[in-house]
Amino acid sequence: MPDTFNADMLDLARGARGMTQAEVATAAGVTQALLSKIENRLVQPSREVAERLAEVLTFPVEFFYQEERAFGFPHYHHRKRSRLGAKSLARIHAAINIKRQHIAKLLRSFNGEVSKPIPMIDLDEKGISPAEAARMVREYWMLPRGPVADVTSTIEDAGGVVVLTDFGTSLLDGISFRSPGMPPMFIMNSEVPGDRFRFSLAHELGHMVMHSMPSEDDETMEEQADQFAAAFLMPAAEIKPHLIPTSIEKLGRVKPLWKVSIKALIRRAYDLKIITSDTYRRINVSYSKAGYSRGEPFPIARESPDIVTRMLEFHMKELQYSVSEIAKLLLLNEDELRRMYMPRKHLELVVSR
């Protein structure tokens, strides 16, 4: 273990626990001034102080001595970032980085090679629209016509890593990014409805496919990602017959098939010029009046990412890791490891050993 305390990790740990500097300082019995200096790399804490901080923040002390650097928000998420409060921002920033570290460690021994990875398409170079990019990706992955059965497994089959976490806010559904030596990562808010989850994941896929370089302004990139997601999940030629005649009653029947929200279907009908702007407005008023903005009927089950579970299973079954050893590897407490990644069946597996 390196003997240099990593201030970035202290920042991440505080963010993960949603604690202020003052709260951590009080709980650890140190001054806020000292904590501030540690975070600003002006002083190195003693081993005793580091252990107290680790105890308060419920991370193993080794977590703070990692040679890792914290990554910021991807360039196409600046607009989303501006909407978040400081606490949410810190929590999400922590989630992104800590999950990235975990996946990097698990991938050292796990073979994640795929034959058809997530492509990168330059819209300007090819002179195509986001909808055409979505069509190309569908064709490249040989997805059958009609609804995408499972967006999560489609992305995971292409080597993407989808991880769930509670962002503690509904202002952000997900974040995706590429980092050196890592597969594309999709950190998704676990607290969003299943239909919105799918659309947000397809939206993030759009960023991964189209926005490897910050070539456009935030707003344009967000719009392009929305257009990509709509075309990826609801190809025009295939969805059109199901949107006519457009009414909320009709779209309520279409939703379970396409697994997208009624709201997204209304928007799709408008974008495909099936309804006029007046009708679009009128339907949206009815939609809000019915209370569907707070929760739609015909709920869609949220998809479950599988790749991290498979990585853990591989470590436990093939590499004979115990839960304790995995916790050490990921620099997590065992309880948190179980809560974060291990559904019940894995606990039983360990008990039987």
Partner: protein, 225 residues
């Protein structure tokens, strides 16, 4: 001898009628002196013992549509097709449920399946809006039904009722089951049926709350429509 609907004089025994060409069959002469008694209390008293069964039929018919059709099929249904499917399931449920009820018979009125209870009430089953009115464009036959006018095979003195279901905006669930007494283009009265935990059902008059302009409906009853 078939039981003839009261209020009609027919030229033929019904058993004989079915052996003749349809165009010549039933010559109905309306007796203008016989009119249905549309009183809500009286009508609901007749219906009372059957309310739990009717409520159950509506719920089961709707649920069958929601649960038994593949999503790919339902996605192709427009609103009319969905309502037609639900109607078919409700009619099937009603037929099966009332098969053993002595005072109840299913009648086929030119393809419209209605439930006759003791020649006192005749019930059709419909999707209704929040006012209790049928949402579909009425056929001539439906208009006659709504005007409480005589129809072939339907007892003239029986009150024509609509037992309807009001779905939510997305057709995902039933907001309420109602018994409505139509009168022309309006509703004379409307009640909501509530299923109780002990298997019984109660009803509550929702006419005043739902139809503040009650005068409009009275006009139909007084011949002003």
């Amino acid at each position: 001898m078939a039981i003839m609907p009261s209020g009609y004089e027919t030229s033929y025994n019904l058993l004989d009628v079915f052996s003749l060409p349809a165009i010549l069959l039933v010559v109905l002469e309306e007796d203008p002196l016989i009119e249905p008694d549309l009183d809500m209390e009286t009508t609901m008293a007749v219906l009372g013992p059957h309310l739990p069964a009717l409520h159950g039929c509506i719920l089961r018919g709707f649920a069958r549509y929601q649960e038994e059709y593949p999503s790919v099929v339902r996605a192709e249904h427009d609103n009319r097709a969905a309502a037609a499917c639900v109607y078919a399931h409700i009619a099937t449920e009603v037929t099966a449920t009332f098969e053993e009820v002595p005072q109840a018979t299913m009648l086929d009125v030119r393809g419209l399946r209605v439930l006759n209870i003791n020649d006192q009430v005749v019930i059709r089953f419909k999707k209704v809006d929040e006012t209790g009115r049928s949402v579909s464009y009425p056929t001539m036959q439906a208009r006659s039904f709504d005007r409480q006018l005589p129809l072939p095979n339907v007892p003239v003195a029986a009150v024509r009722l609509t037992v309807g279901y009001e779905p939510d905006l997305a057709f995902s669930e039933i907001v309420r089951v109602v018994v409505a007494c139509p009168l022309g283009k309006g509703i004379y009265w409307c009640t909501q049926i509530n299923s109780e935990e002990n298997g019984s059902a109660t009803w509550v008059d929702i006419t005043p709350q739902r139809f503040p302009g009650t005068e409009r409906f009275r006009r139909y009853g007084t011949g002003d429509a």
